[in-house]
């Protein structure tokens, strides 16, 4: 007898769900003020803030929900939240 397997999903399949469309406020990262501490990346609930080759950080707007945690927690106040333009 073969047993049926329960519901399975491929790992990381949630990437199909482009949560960036939820955004009301959009963060903009000012690299001149940035001290590269990485707080925005550590505290992002989405895990959508990525480090570039120079050590600066930028969010992936496909998934950024615009919660604003990065802007509130940035010690250098290098992140500003602006109304999303649709």
């Amino acid at each position: 007898m073969t047993l049926a397997v329960g519901c399975r999903a491929r790992p990381g399949k949630s990437r199909d769900n482009k949560t960036g469309s939820w955004r009301v406020f959009k963060p903009s990262f000012d690299h001149e003020k940035c001290s590269k501490c990485g707080m925005c990346q550590t505290l992002c609930p989405e895990g959508c803030v990525h480090e570039d080759a120079e050590g600066f950080f930028d969010p992936d707007f496909t998934y950024c929900k615009g919660c604003g945690i990065c802007a509130t927690e940035c010690p250098k106040e290098a992140i500003a939240m602006n109304q999303e333009e649709k």
Partner: protein, 300 residues
């Protein structure tokens, strides 16, 4: 544009948590600490629902969900099976406070008493958030929820928070800790310790819920920090039943924490309820006495 260095996230983007969700951040940080050789057992709750609406999943490690009450029983079975097969994967249980403090109590008690080797991570958002903010055993004193509403006859939840770490310490758990998303490095260190300590270990993570508690999503970390600074949440480590490490603070009055959230709004509007606020301050003072929270600035 410079090429982006993608960091490996075992809890991936695209999950359906609210913007500013404390539980989603908990899952990310826990998975960063746990690594790839991990099997996650998830009880029912917000985290299970927002991370895995079929056929999507945000998890990149083996993950299983069964019921609300039996995450620790499922983990016990997996651990026994891995042991028989001679495999070394670590087991992490992710459960909310409802599943831990109320519904899963019997299975948790059984699994801790049998001494299975797993790390039990409870993300504590202090109510049943997934079903619409009903009170749980973890709901703090005077918080207004849909089943303990504040109004003319009531100030909200009349019972203090259950002391879950003490209950599990009484089971003889080798490592118990409380952590907060406001201190991510500390959280990750505690999760690592819980995973690497043989036997059933428990980490309770304070994870503010912007929807349930009533605050803007960007304040999640600030509020988690205030809970520690006021003494209403204590970050400690317990090894073999003895408290070994406590996060000490220069305490602020509890109102600074209460004022930030809609669930405590009835304590300030329409009239300030000094007697109730004093009762909550007494809870913070008791915590301070019990764990020695206060930093003594004067040198003796």
């Amino acid at each position: 544009m410079a090429e982006k260095k993608k960091t490996c996230e075992l809890f991936d983007c695209g999950h359906r948590a609210c913007g500013g969700c404390g539980a989603a951040l908990t899952a990310r940080l826990v998975m960063q600490a746990a690594g790839t050789e991990t099997i996650v057992v998830n009880s029912t709750g917000c985290m299970e629902v927002f991370s895995t609406p079929y056929p999507e999943t945000a998890w990149k490690v083996p993950w299983i969900h069964s019921l609300f009450e039996n995450a620790s029983a499922v983990a016990s079975g997996i651990e026994a099976s891995l042991k028989k097969q001679g495999r070394k994967e670590k087991i992490v249980i992710m459960a909310g406070d409802g599943a831990t403090f109320d519904i899963g109590m019997i299975c948790i008690s059984g699994a801790f008493e049998r001494g299975h080797d797993f790390a039990y991570i409870c993300y504590d958002n202090e109510a049943y958030m997934n079903t619409g903010i009903q009170r749980s055993g973890a709901t703090p004193y005077d918080a207004s929820t849909t089943t303990s509403p504040a109004g003319t006859c009531s100030f909200g939840n009349r019972r203090p928070k259950k002391d879950m770490p003490a209950i599990l310490a009484a089971h003889g758990a080798p490592y118990i800790a409380t952590a907060s998303i406001a201190y991510p490095a500390d959280l990750k260190q505690k999760v690592e310790k819980a995973i690497n300590t043989p036997g059933p270990c428990y980490v309770q993570v304070h994870a503010p819920c912007c929807t349930g508690w009533g605050f803007e999503g960007d304040q999640t970390i600030a509020i988690a920090k205030l809970a520690i600074e006021t003494g209403l949440w204590v970050n400690f480590e317990m090894v073999d039943g003895k408290v070994t490490k406590v996060k000490k603070v220069v305490r602020k009055p509890v109102e600074e924490y209460l004022k930030t959230q809609k669930r405590f709004r009835h304590l300030f509007k329409p009239k300030r309820q000094d007697a109730e606020i004093a009762l909550i301050q007494a809870i913070a003072d008791r915590n301070a006495g019990k764990y020695g929270l206060d930093i003594n600035l004067r040198k003796e």
